[in-house]
Symmetry: C2
Subunit: 111 residues, 2 copies
DNA sequence: CCTCGTTGTGTCTTCGTATTCATATCGAAT
DNA sequence: ATTCGATATGAATACGAAGACACAACGAGG
């Protein structure tokens, strides 16, 4: 008896730079939420992550890349500050979405 | 400026059963070595893993699957014991190799 | 019945990752 | 000038995965 259909094929993909991880599914969600919410703290809350973790993630990527992916603002009575993706950050997110989509198609055919 | 080529796409694939991981690249290497060496301890040594780790991996998979994937023997002055894959274990390994190969082909075309 | 190499298992340590907490800083709006 | 919500950051803690160590159990063959 064959078990071709018994097991589910799962996968993870991510982009690397100089051997270091840049962005995977979680990172993509973070960047997406920051773009949508214009705030690191709200992005973190929406994703059920700690602010500390999201902030650290951003810094880690920026250290690896050598360029900022998020531009932040401080202060302001209404809002208190905020954040948005840099063009660089947007490109990174788009590139991830692109390869993710390609791989999904490839997997669908593999089915 | 686009960064299509700046980042390296990396990925991991594995098979799951009821949402739990069964076998990925590492697991496949373990099963392969066990089949080749007819011994868990030699397989572990060849792979640079601890016996404990390899043994635990096997047990975890068997708990998830509800069936043994490795048959073991104890005792004997010459050999002292040994192990080999059950038919079930062989099928699992083959199934992993199959999807791995398919995915590699799909990715090569996607490139 | 003794030996030897392997299986089987508990425990402790290490280590990377993620969470929590606490606190300082900023600055536009009021 | 005061306020308020967000950014920024250190430190302590928690947690799970993996490795290191130690040792008991087994049993075919000599």
């Amino acid at each position: 008896m064959s078990n071709q259909t018994k097991y589910k094929l799962s996968f993870k993909i991510w982009l690397e730079h100089r051997g270091k991880p840049l962005i995977g599914k979680g990172g993509a969600q973070i960047l997406e939420q920051i773009e949508k919410e214009r705030s690191i703290s709200r992005a973190a809350k929406n994703l059920g992550m700690s602010y500390r973790y999201v902030w650290s993630y951003i810094k880690k990527v920026e250290r690896t890349l050598g360029s900022p992916i998020v531009k932040t603002y401080k202060g302001g009575r209404r809002g208190g500050g905020g954040a948005k993706l840099t063009n660089f950050g947007k490109e990174l997110l788009e590139e991830y979405r692109r390869v993710e989509c390609l791989l999904n198609k490839a997997l669908a055919e593999t089915k």
